[in-house]
Amino acid sequence: MSLLREHWRKLALLIVGAGVAVVPLFVTGTDARYVLKVLSFVGINALIVLGLALLFGYAGQVSMGHAAFFGLGAYASAWVTKSLGLPWLVGLAAAVLLTAAAGILLALPSLRLKGHYLAMATLAFGEIMRIAFVEAKGVTGGPDGLSGIPYASIGPLSFDTPQMNYWLVWGVLVLAIWLAANIVNGRPGRSMRALHGSELGTMASGINITGIKVRVFTLSAVFAGVAGALYASVVGFVSPSTFSLHLSVILVAMAVLGGTRSLAGPLLAAVVLTLIPYADAILPGLSREVMTVIQEWEADVYGLVIIIVILFMPGGIAGALRGVFVRGGEAK
């Protein structure tokens, strides 16, 4: 049984990988560039939300400061590749190391805090970092930001077209999903589910709860940092206004809408909510008039969608999906 599932998973992963890979071959119209750019943004958001889903859905923690990690990753790689002129992979490594360090430094003292106090601490961290992004002009370019950030490249391979950007972002995303799924299904995931079941029992099993939470927090910070590095090279421009509290809150909302103990739900929420203002990227029939109305009412629609989903889908998207799957005959 387990072997069967193992194969299933490999096969499915292959199919999805292949599916993601071939999308650019189908997107060939005049607006291909636009569609691929939008899909790249979707992938970047999905990557951050994936980290938040691990943090919130499995470790039960909330971070209101993930935009700051996103920004740290973006600035780190932008600075290394643009100002220092070093290879992109070095920039990526800098983004990973910096966000990991910041994640641990914030997580260690913060995880003593519960609920709202943790939310406030991470929020404060996010705001402090935003001020730092504005003030550290020498590195960040201040409020004007850093422009002319080079495209990602690995050796001779340059990710300088929308197709390549798309492949890069979604390649990293698929890899991150694989990592996250392994964690969730492996020992750390089991420990986190245990924690969800009984905190005392978890301690009695000799499991270091704080250690796990710190690691999940750090991992989710690193996911955001990697997303930042991707963002910097895809957009070519980084400025402080992107990494706002508003973004942090929207990302958390996506994770919560997705539902707990699920990766699929939050990912789906990230994809759908990110696509709202770019609806015509996947629904080409939409007229300009409709798009104008959507853009005008986008923020209201966001708010409304958040309220309605949480009111009428108590388990989030994941809960609804589970319902469908169970009814679909999966129950043993």
Binding site: V62, P109, S110, R112, L113, K114, G115, H116, Y117, A119, M120, A121, L123, A124, F125, E127, I128, I131, A132, E135, L200, L245, H246, V249, V252, A253, V256, L257, W297, A299, D300, Y302, G303, L304, V305, I306, I307, I310, L311, P314
Partner: protein, 293 residues
């Protein structure tokens, strides 16, 4: 730096602090009845200002009446929001409700943009006239309104919580939701009342600050952050803690400007807030307590 300047810094800090305190009070009230941080609290401040401006400038009503409309109108919106968006979620899961308030915040601020337009609006001062001078420092008349109304709100809330049956039921409810039912009060009604109260207080904050700062559809989030910070700094417990948190935050900011740097005043006060949380995770006046095995 002389004594008059110091006093001036203190007054500036207390004025900002009182505004933060008013917003923090709203957070505290909703938190007490639901265990939820209401991210739409800042939007109540915005709505209070916007509605009173609308009543005063567009309808041409006298200022006191416009202020009343701002406060009561916001309270009504708070109740409607609770009935439509909070109450239907039966399990009362705090995190779900918090995210609902995030959605509410987005919705309210953008609806306000559609209704009132994107530009900033203002109100005249409650009492005209030059600012008061004493000991070499000055204080504008509107600040007295802010101090007075904040103090009044604290007194009324304290009396309400300790002397009235409804208030006591709300306190009981914050400890244990079934306890309220034992006292014979429907906890659902208490949640509605707490939203009405919090919205009215937010509206009040909006009305008294608009003559000083103007208001716009997007001012809610900055009020929300400061109020949330003040409520956490004080410790999410009682009205007094909220006010102390607000005043401490305000003074912290103005003293940062006085002795350090106005560029980093927010960073400085946030760092202090973080340190307080790391040392006293329950806030300055919050109840500690070990966890039970």
């Amino acid at each position: 730096m002389g004594a008059p300047e110091l006093l001036q810094f203190a007054l500036a800090g207390l004025k900002n602090g009182s505004i933060y305190a008013l917003v923090a009070l709203g957070f505290t009230i909703v938190y007490a009845s639901t265990g939820v941080i209401n991210f739409a609290q800042g939007e109540f401040v915005m709505l209070g200002g916007m509605l009173s401006v609308w009543a005063h400038s567009t309808l041409g009503l006298p200022l006191p009446l416009a202020a009343l409309i701002g406060i009561l109108g916001t309270a009504v919106i708070g109740v409607v929001f609770e009935l439509l968006a909070i109450r239907p979620r039966k399990d009362g899961d705090p995190l779900a409700l918090i995210i609902i308030t995030v959605g509410g915040s987005l919705l309210l601020s953008n609806l306000a943009r559609h209704v009132f337009g994107p530009s900033e609006r203002s109100l005249p001062a409650f009492t005209a006239g030059p600012s008061l001078r004493f000991l070499g420092a000055t204080l504008e008349r509107q600040s007295l309104w802010i101090f007075g109304l904040t103090a009044l709100a604290v007194v009324v809330l304290t009396v309400f919580y300790s002397r009235t049956r409804l208030g006591r039921a709300m306190r009981a409810c914050s400890i244990n939701r079934t306890a309220a039912r034992l006292v014979g009060v429907d906890p659902k009604r208490l949640v509605t009342i707490s939203f009405a109260l919090a919205a009215a207080l937010g509206g009040l904050a909006g009305v008294v600050t608009t003559p000083l700062t103007q208001t716009a559809f997007n001012v809610g989030s900055s009020f929300g952050i400061k109020g949330f910070a003040a409520a956490i700094l004080g410790g999410l417990g009682n009205p007094i803690a909220a006010v102390i948190g607000g005043l401490v935050l305000g003074l912290l900011e103005s003293m940062s400007i006085a002795f350090l740097s106005s560029t980093y005043k927010d960073a400085i006060s946030l760092v202090v807030l973080l340190l307080v949380l790391f040392i006293r995770p329950q806030g300055l006046l919050g109840r500690g307590g070990r966890e039970k095995v």
